[in-house]
Amino acid sequence: MATPIFEVDNLRAHYLTRFGQKIQAVDGVSFSLKPGEILGIAGESGCGKTTLVSACMGLYIPPLHLSSGDVRIEGKSIIGMDVETNRRDVLGKQIAMIPQGALNSLNPTRKIKDLATDMILSHDEGADKKAVHARLRERFNKLGMPAEEVLNSYPVQLPAGMKQRVVIGISTLLDPRVVIADEPTSALDVSTQKAVIRLLFELMDQGIIGSMLFITHELPLLRHVSNNIAVMYAGEFVEVGNIEQVIFDPRMPYTQALMGSMLSAEAGHRDKKPVSIEGAPPNLAFPIKGCRFAERCPVARPDCKEVKQEIRIVADRQVRCMYAE
């Protein structure tokens, strides 16, 4: 069995508000990625997906703090260094992130070329600018983007889909081992979304990136992108398994509800009514005794709110529900 590139071990992270309130946004998350593996993380807004991203990158900027746990890339822990060292030595080189809003992550007053050059120079101070430009052109060409044209443009001159691809191109310039894509397609239309996913696959297939964490709230999209899926709710993984298990045969009531809220465009599916999940995720500022989904769960039983839920193995996958079968 191949050794994992990326290991996250019982990671817990919290926010500290200025009133001294502690909000446990990520609570005991563990997973590992082997080379070439893509793990999809699904969950609604406010479930801690984006906090998990910062926590996985070892980027703890107040009010976010590490409670406990460890993150290792190729066996080496990236936890516990200060923000500057982390930014220089870890981010971009070992782990990179593809953010959601490509439109906001590019500086509007600078050409793509200058922005990308800055990014390389900040990690490698002595680099020669000409060599860097050549490397940029080569990489953009390799990824199927019109390099000359794109590199000499300002962000406003590019359409949204191209901007997102440029951001992906720049994020992966230093060949990071692990890439975290945080809703990379949620601002794009379906056709450009496909082009972006294709680019991510290209990066994996050419060996530029090792493995990927793909975060989204669109389960149908995850079905096509990842090998394994983890469903997240209120800071915890509630169901982890492969695609067949999680999408087509979910066991945790929350995953079942997520699947029920999906819409399909096929003819004849029109009468199938999607059901949305009522209510909102719980407030994590207050400790929750029992199951975190119990308040909204359609099949909750009286003791669900009382008993702390642990991960169980049900039908070959991990489920955090004591009644799932």
């Binding site: 609604e44 807004s45 406010g46 199927g144 359409p159 949204a160 889909g161 949620s186 601002a187 794009l188 239309d189 379906v190 056709s191 450009t192 979304q193 496909k194 996913i197 294709r198 696959f201 290209e202 297939d205 709230h217 669109e218 389960l219 149908p220 999209l221 079905r223 096509h224 999408i247 087509f248 509800a257 997520l258 809220s261 999906m262 819409l263 399909s264 465009a265 096929e266 003819a267 004849g268 599916h269 029109r270 009514k273 999607p274 059901v275 949305s276 999940i277 909102a280």
Partner: protein, 269 residues
């Protein structure tokens, strides 16, 4: 309100151009369509296909370069007070946070939408109608008392925008990508409120989206737009079941549906 015309909107050879000479961009090219009363019409297309420009023309935020646009059988003219038009045609946009002012409470802003009316009801009446509208979108009126926009989630804010529509009760609602900022679980919820507006308030709704799946779910008729032109229109079952145009086929193919092969690893196209 008396309304004899069976058609809400009627457009003939409508065009909108930007720039001139070499830099001429035709955002909307010679489109003709009609929108019947109390129908939900979806305009579907990729980003940049001109669907928002078309929606803005219906709202009188953009002026057509050529062609005619009739509302209730009468041309939309630029001389008249635009507020007359906005009393009857209202809009919900993509980002609810940019639609509300961060510095005022939500309740005060909902109440201020009465400013659009010529004769405003009494203060108690206004409060009551705000409460009713909030109940219509399943939010307990007391829950948002004294709250500012940043204290609510995206889904809740989108429902606030819809509450505003329940207060104003226009004849037509233009909904421009109202679900793209909302996550998948509350998306169905927002669509159900649109259906409710149609059923309870007899509203005509123009729904602009890039997701043909959403369009199928709620609309009576779908317009597929591509490069400024309407390339296909018809009822959802026909458009998705037997698409005539290549654009529609491409749109359907690009949806990541769970039951179909969508993308092949390593296969460059």
């Amino acid at each position: 309100m008396p309304n004899d015309s069976p058609l809400k909107f009627e457009a003939k050879n409508l065009s909108r151009e930007y720039g001139h000479g070499k830099k001429l961009v035709q955002a909307v090219k010679n489109v003709s369509f009609s929108i019947p009363n109390r129908d939900i019409i979806s305009i579907v297309g990729q980003s940049g296909c001109g669907k928002t420009v078309l929606a803005k023309m219906l709202l009188r935020l953009e002026e057509p370069t050529s062609g005619t646009l009739l509302f209730n059988g009468k041309p939309i003219t630029n001389e008249a007070d635009p507020r007359d038009h906005w009393r009857q045609v209202q809009a919900v946009f993509q980002d609810p946070f940019s639609a509300f002012n961060q510095f005022f409470t939500i309740r005060a802003q909902l109440k201020s939408s009465f400013k659009l009316f010529k004769d405003r009801p009494s203060d108690e009446e206004m409060e009551k109608r705000v409460d009713d509208a909030l109940l219509a979108v399943n939010i307990k009126p007391r829950e948002i008392d004294g709250k500012y926009p940043f204290e609510l989630s995206g889904g809740q804010m989108q429902r606030m925008l819809l509450a505003r529509i329940f207060i104003l009760r226009p004849q037509v609602l233009i909904a421009d990508e109202p679900t793209s900022m909302v996550d998948a679980c509350s998306r169905a919820n927002i669509l159900d409120y649109l259906l409710k507006l149609k059923q309870e308030l007899d509203m005509t709704i123009v729904f602009v989206t890039h997701d043909i799946g959403l369009a199928c779910y709620i609309s009576d008729s779908i317009f597929i737009m591509h490069k400024g032109e309407i390339v296909e229109q018809g009822p959802p079952d026909r458009v998705t079941g037997s698409p005539q145009s290549e654009v529609t086929q491409q749109l359907l193919e690009d949806i990541p549906d769970v039951h179909r092969d969508w993308i092949k690893r390593g296969a460059a196209e």
